[in-house]
């Protein structure tokens, strides 16, 4: 069993690795900072909300693009939503694909849109997996740290 400082370091390292790989940006750190005693599950809450929202949006997008006459305006507003929520939790790769997506929407380029949809899905799944892994790992680490008598390091 690792010592408390070690665990604490692992905890921070794991979070920063997500940063370094480019899945997440500062905004996620900000989110983590918002979490405190009065609001202990804030990040998990927000992220799960994001997952729900995103799945709904992705479905909507898929159906919208399968229509015979595609309503690009609606597609665009969906993508905007998706981009907004993604950047809110700091999923910057998803957000950047959304920017491309919106450009295609503007051009009414169905092919491009479909391609982007695929990319967004991929990126989303990637970030979802990463986040889920992060939460699991963090849960573990937190428990380990708490068991070891340490405290959760704050990201300040």
């Amino acid at each position: 069993m690792a010592s408390v400082p070690q665990l604490q370091r692992q905890f921070i390292e794991y979070t920063t690795s997500l940063h370094n790989e480019g899945y997440l940006d500062d905004q996620f750190t900000q989110l983590q900072k918002l979490q405190d005693e009065s609001n202990p599950d804030f990040v998990v809450e927000v992220v799960s909300l994001y997952f729900e929202d995103s799945e709904k949006l992705l479905n909507n997008l898929a159906t919208a693009l399968q229509q015979k006459s595609v309503d690009y305006k609606q597609v665009d507003s969906h993508v905007h939503q998706f981009k907004g929520s993604s950047s809110s939790i700091g999923a910057q790769r998803v957000a950047s694909v959304c920017v491309h997506f919106r450009n295609f929407c503007e051009e009414k380029n169905l092919e491009g849109c479909l391609r982007c949809l695929q990319q967004v899905k991929q990126e989303y799944i990637l970030v979802r997996n990463k986040l889920e892994a992060l939460f699991r790992r963090m849960m573990q680490l937190e428990q380990q740290i708490l068991q070891a008598g340490g405290s959760i390091p704050m990201m300040e």
Binding site: Q27, L31, V46, G84, E156
Partner: protein
């Protein structure tokens, strides 16, 4: 101008000359006229042709040549004139002398002639009229000898009798000698025997009587000499005295003239014919005139013989005048001819006179004309020199003006360069500072934080320096313009005080501001620049003050000038910190006296003093204190920092505010800077009852033995609307409380009063607690520095208010204390996160259709302590924000389906507008106008969005996700 002067001089000179020579006055006057018109013309030219200088120069040169030519001519003319004058005079003298001599000669000749004539009468009477004759040779000789003086010009007289040939023999027998021919055989030597007997003639004229001097002519026949014969014949025909041409006299061989009178036997009428006369002729009386000796005698009588040569000529024959007297001398040029009338109409004589000496050199004429010539040349030279000088000065002037322009251009360029460069540096520096700011908020260890803080401080120093340089450059290039906005002077002072509060608390200096109550609440002027001046002055004071106080006072100028006479010696000991200060009055001694014409209702002249108890300014540095970049010494900037530009900028700014700045400083005692500034008076004064309302009509008592300090405290507390009493000590405070006539809400005790006697203080606190008042007064300590040693003394210390006193701070501290908040001792602490200070307890509505975003934004705001309500659409937001509501602010997403942020805001503003109109009618009288701050949340922060936000009635925007700095900036606009 000197040219004109020279010309005038010439004119006057010329006119002077012309006055002297009044003979040719008219010509001169004409010339003068011409000359003066010419001068005027030149004068005109001078002004017209100021531009083409070459042309003017040529004109001047022409004028110069003309002048010299004129001068030369003038001097020549004067020479000629004087010379002719002299000649004229000489001629006149000569004529006078000549005429005089001629007249005398003539007179004497006439006298002689008359006498000879008288003698002829005598002979006719006594010789021919008597028989026998009463006259013989002896009688005649004796008589003539004795009357010789009567005939000054005659050398001798002789009488020849008329003898006809028929009578010759008888005559010769009677006389005893023969009649002899006059012409001598030998010319050389004279002897009577040499004369031959006269040849036979029809008649003879032998001399019978003769004066002794001419006795040798007796018996000579007068008709035999050629000249004598003519003479005799003419004399008896005319009946008048006649003269011979000059002839060589017999025996003496000298030149002589013979005057002959005929002697008639009866008295003939004057109109007798010549035949009658010849017939009546008895004899001939002749007088010999020895001209030479006679003239010499005459001239000797005049005694001025030596001056002139006199020549006497017989000019009967004009072509060949016969010289009668005088030597032939070389021609000396000047000659005067005087006619001589010797009474013989057929003979003409004249006297010619010459000066013996040549005319003398005309010294006067030469010197005068030379003098004039020299003067002309001198004047010409002066003129020339003047012209050259003018030209040189003009050239210099042009050169100077060109150089000046260059210098000014360079200066302008410098200022512009400075302004540009400063501006260009400032922009990136802002970036640097911003980034440093953000870097501070990231995870840093202590060392890194220290580095960043240092970098930030240096950056801020650099920016302030750049700002100063920019100001200086702007002032120099005249680009600085003052704003004219309404501002609250007291608030500005409070701001400046809080700016320096950190430093003053650190150093333990008492910092205070006092504004006279006569100064209006609001003024119109440039608060930024005013603040800058105050900040500069206070910054200096803070820098150089280690103990004591810094005291800013603001008065109306009238107040101070009126009270000058009253408070003459009060300020010596009675200062804020009790330390001596430099005399404030001396700092404005040099100011101009105020003009009383300024209408106080329109403009307000303030006098502001900043007094410190610092090191003071060395006397030798006082003169250059307002020069840019001039510091007292090189070590100053090392010890205290700064550039030395602040005072110079302050001076410029004060000047822009129509004021003056001055100071008085005593080394080791302190400095007082005083400046005046003119502001406009906004005529209606708006009252801010905001902070006052809470404390209105409460009574505060200040325990302070030092009147000035107490007065400052009173000023600040009164601004909160409280009544203030001042007592000097705790004892008197206590007695005031025990009397209990009034409810005392607050007791503010100066720290030194409290600390002086801690037991006394604790007794006071104890007694106060036991006094059992209805409303127990709150105790406060007023202190200069944070973190005193009060707690350790075991005496429970009342809450502390750290100076400098400001309204907002005072209100805050008091509020906290009155409200019974838990942390009443914490006023000095700066809250860690200013955002949470702003947002704590605020009700905020967040509107976003995106749940995630909504959640995140709400979380962020909650984190700062706000009470957040969420709404996921514009419509919900509108219904929630329908007044009356309790929200303090609303954050709204712009892009939302159905109704975007702009539309929603429009609707909300319309609702508020409608309600506000009602308020004016009076429905919601107690509530201020509705205007909930709405901030847009947007991901793309570009200018266009910002403008759109403002257009649609929003108050600002924040980026999404929130950036703490920006959020703070926006939120602070509403919640501060």
């Amino acid at each position: 101008m000197s040219l004109i002067l020279v010309l005038m001089l010439c004119c006057s000179f010329v006119s002077l000359i012309s006055m002297k020579l009044n003979k040719s006055m008219n010509i001169w006057m004409k010339f003068l006229e011409i000359f003066s018109t010419y001068t005027c013309m030149i004068h005109l030219h001078y002004y017209q042709q100021l531009g083409p200088r070459k042309l003017r120069k040529r004109w001047l040169r022409k004028l110069l040549i003309l002048w010299i030519a004129f001068g030369t001519l003038l001097s020549l003319w004067i020479f000629w004139y004087l010379r002719s004058q002299a000649l004229e005079k000489r001629k006149e003298t000569l004529a006078n002398m000549c005429d005089e001599r001629a007249r005398m000669l003539q007179d004497q000749f006439n006298v002689s002639m008359n006498h000879v004539q008288a003698m002829s009468i005598l002979i006719s009477t006594f010789h021919h009229g008597k028989n026998p004759s009463a006259i013989d040779q002896e009688t005649f000789a004796k008589y003539t000898e004795r009357t010789a003086f009567e005939r000054p010009l005659t050398s001798g007289v002789a009488y020849a009798v008329r003898v006809l040939h028929s009578e010759r023999e008888q005559f010769e027998k009677q006389q005893g000698w023969t009649i002899k021919n006059m012409t001598p055989v030998k010319k050389d030597e004279y002897s009577p025997e040499e004369f031959e007997p006269s040849p036979i003639q029809p008649e003879y004229a032998p001399v019978i009587f003769a004066q002794d001097t001419v006795a040798h002519v007796i018996s000579l026949d007068m008709l035999t000499g050629k000249e004598d014969r003519d003479n005799v014949l003419r004399a008896r025909a005319l009946g008048k005295g006649v003269l011979t041409a000059p002839l060589d006299l017999i025996k003496s061989n000298r030149l002589g003239v013979i005057l002959t009178f005929a002697v008639y036997n009866r008295d003939l009428p004057s109109n007798a014919t010549p035949e009658e006369r010849i017939k009546a002729t008895e004899g001939y009386l002749g007088g010999v005139f020895d001209i030479r000796s006679l003239v010499e005698k005459l001239l000797q009588q005049l005694a001025r013989k030596q001056i002139i040569y006199v020549n006497v000529f017989d000019t009967t024959n004009v072509s060949n005048p016969i010289s009668m007297y005088g030597t032939d001398v070389s021609d000396t040029g000047l000659q005067h001819v005087s006619p001589l009338n010797f009474g013989d109409p057929s003979r003409k004589h004249e006297m010619r006179c010459r000066f013996k000496q040549k005319p003398p050199w005309q010294i006067l004429a030469i010197s005068t004309s030379f003098g004039i010539f020299v003067i002309t040349l001198l004047v010409g030279h002066i003129f020339h020199a003047t012209v050259n000088r003018i030209a040189k000065v003009e050239d210099d002037y042009h050169e100077m003006s060109v150089l000046k322009k260059h210098a000014e251009d360079a200066d302008l360029a410098k200022s512009q360069f400075l302004a540009t460069v400063s501006h260009e540096i400032r922009t990136p520096m802002n970036g640097v500072l911003g980034m440093l700011d953000m870097l501070m908020d990231t995870v840093l260890d202590v060392t890194q934080q220290d580095y960043v803080r240092t970098a930030q401080a240096s950056g801020k120093a650099l920016v302030s320096l750049i700002n100063a340089v920019l100001d200086q450059a702007k002032i120099e290039s005249g680009k600085l313009e003052l704003e004219a906005v309404r501002f609250e002077l007291r608030a500005v002072l409070d701001d400046v005080l809080s700016l320096f509060s950190g430093k003053s608390q650190e150093k333990g200096i008492e910092l205070a501001a006092y504004v006279s109550e006569k100064v209006p609440e609001t003024l119109i002027g440039d608060p930024g620049r005013f603040r800058q001046i105050i900040t500069n002055l206070m910054g200096n004071s803070i820098k150089f003050t280690e103990k004591g106080h810094i005291f800013v006072t603001v008065h109306l100028l009238e107040e101070v000038t009126n009270s000058i006479d009253v408070e003459t010696e009060s300020s010596c000991k009675d200062t804020l910190s009790g330390l001596p200060v430099a005399d404030r009055k001396r700092s404005w001694e040099a100011f101009r006296p105020t003009d009383q014409t300024v209408d106080p209702s329109e403009s307000i002249k303030l006098i502001i003093s900043v007094e410190d108890t610092g090191v003071g300014i060395p006397l030798d540095a006082q003169s250059r204190i307002f020069t840019p970049f001039m510091q007292v010494g090189p070590s100053i900037s090392r010890i205290h920092g700064g550039t030395g530009i602040g005072l110079s900028i302050s001076k410029c700014l004060v000047n822009l505010m129509n004021g003056e700045i001055g100071f008085s400083s005593v080394p080791k005692i302190g400095s007082t800077f005083t400046f005046t500034a003119v502001f406009s008076n906004p005529n209606e004064q708006q009252m801010n009852g905001e902070s006052k309302s809470q404390f209105c009509n409460m009574l505060a008592v200040i325990v302070d033995p030092r009147p000035v300090r107490a007065e400052v405290s009173r000023y600040h507390i009164q601004r909160l609307g409280m009544h203030v009493e001042i007592v000097p000590s705790l004892t008197s405070m206590l007695s005031m409380l025990t009397k209990g006539s009034q409810i005392v809400n607050l007791v503010l005790i100066e720290e030194d009063v409290w600390d002086r006697d801690l037991t006394n203080s604790s007794v006071f606190a104890y007694k106060l607690r036991n006094l059992d008042l209805k409303v127990p007064p709150k105790l406060f300590l007023l202190t200069n520095s944070i973190g005193g040693s009060r707690q350790s003394n075991g005496v429970p210390s009342p809450p502390v208010i750290t100076k400098p006193l400001r309204v907002s701070m005072l209100a805050g501290s008091l509020q906290r204390a009155m409200g019974g908040n838990k942390d009443n001792a914490r006023n000095g602490e700066v809250p860690k996160l200013s955002l949470s200070k702003l947002l704590i307890g605020r009700k905020i509505l967040v509107v976003d259709d995106n749940n995630v975003n909504l959640r995140v934004a709400a979380g962020a705001l909650k984190k700062y302590g706000a009470e957040v309500t969420c709404a996921d659409s514009g419509r919900k937001a509108i219904s929630l924000l329908k007044p009356p509501h309790s929200f303090d602010a609303c954050f709204m997403d712009i892009q939302m389906p159905e109704m975007d942020g702009f539309q929603a805001t429009n609707v909300i503003r319309e609702m508020e507008y409608a309600i506000n109109n009602h308020i004016q009618v009076g429905d919601y009288a107690n509530i201020s106008r509705w205007h909930v701050p709405i901030l847009a949340m947007t991901a793309d922060v570009i200018q266009a969005t910002h403008e759109q936000c403002l257009r649609s009635g929003m108050d600002g925007y924040v980026s999404k996700p929130f950036e703490p700095n920006q959020l703070y900036q926006e939120v602070s606009r509403f919640f501060l």
